[in-house]
Symmetry: C2
């Protein structure tokens, strides 16, 4: 069933990681997995551009169907393989509402992370301002505090409640990246607890970014956030 | 069934409009509709903040369930009322794949629109650069050309194919806003055709932004794009 699936992906990228997790949770192992290097610019290679003219990873093919947007791939997989593996959309309406809310709020978190982490890449040198860097950093810090608050209020242990859902599939990789980049576990104890709890989940273990596994030492760029 | 639904929204905002369309398509008329004014800052009022601490519209309550993210509300409504009104997720797998791809690509379009339309609001005066304005404008123009190309290649007449789906619900309001702001119909003929085709759909007619109805004359800010 998975021989006609191909995923092109890069290590440590939250959009790629969420697709890897979804594939594991839906028991879709055995697909054609192509690991590319962002450092070498392979996401702009012809192999990618042929499937995804935006030159971005992930890039996903199922037969001749192409879905490249990570939220789209996860939703597509859940929809196509509803009765296989983990049910990623809960039956309970209240939990479903929380799932959709957190899942899409995760895009605001991701955007604020990008504003901080890719500032020098996205903003040409002559247009950079310390005031913008400070503002982006404060916005990200406030955003992370919002999520710490969500986890404090519960119901937990997952983002939408008692079940592991699309909210965890899509948002967890962002949090994992924040801690990898030095976010202080003591300052965000509930987030740290959530991340450590999920670390042992088979789908997370199986898809842990290979570059992180090779080099377990994280960075410190977000240590003061 | 809809007496326990409340939507707080603002006129002309694509995120609000897509929720209004979804509610119509799912035959959920009769909900408690609260139209607020962005100009008067009512999206930051206590009434909104009580449901949505981010102080953004739309804001949606179904009983005691809260979903504020527009993509989340549309997905939630489709999920909860699957067998009522228009089926917004097609059965056909190929069409479903296209739907998810276009639906989430629509977020890139929306982001590029925001970069252009809210530049002065988001970037403090001392940090503004003509080069950034030019770059944002070029990026939006390229993005719109990408979508013109999608519609040229088909299959149409809707974004994912023969059925009106969540892709149209979520992305159409962005296109309608672009033309309202002066986008040239002759330069983007397929997009114009798509927009004019959808204009007569009951859910679109019923939810046409009241401020646009009052003042049918659009703006010209995007006429050169």
């Amino acid at each position: 069933m998975t021989q006609d699936m191909t995923l092109l992906w890069g290590s440590g990228s939250p959009p790629c990681w969420r697709v890897l997790i979804a594939l594991e949770e839906k028991n879709l192992q055995g697909y054609n997995s192509v690991l590319l290097s962002f450092e070498k610019g392979e996401h702009k290679s012809q192999q990618v551009l042929d499937i995804n003219p935006r030159g971005q990873l992930p890039t996903f093919k199922h037969g001749d169907r192409i879905v490249n947007e990570s939220y789209g791939i996860c939703s597509y997989l859940e929809s196509q393989f509803k009765n296989q593996g983990t049910k990623l959309i809960p039956e309970c309406g209240a939990e479903q509402a929380r799932m959709y809310q957190r899942m899409y709020e995760g895009q605001t978190l991701a955007q604020k992370m990008m504003d901080v982490l890719t500032y020098n890449m996205k903003v040409p040198e002559g247009e950079r301002h310390d005031s913008a860097i400070k503002r982006n950093s404060e916005a990200l810090s406030a955003e992370i505090k919002t999520w710490e608050g969500y986890l404090q209020k519960g119901p937990g242990p997952y983002l939408a409640g008692k079940d592991f859902t699309l909210a965890d599939v899509t948002v967890y990789p962002n949090f994992a990246l924040l801690f990898r980049l030095g976010l202080c576990e003591k300052r965000y104890p509930k987030l740290a607890e959530y991340c450590n709890f999920l670390k042992d989940r088979p789908s997370i273990k199986a898809t842990w970014p290979p570059t992180w596994r090779e080099n377990p030492q994280g960075q410190t760029v977000l240590k003061d956030l």
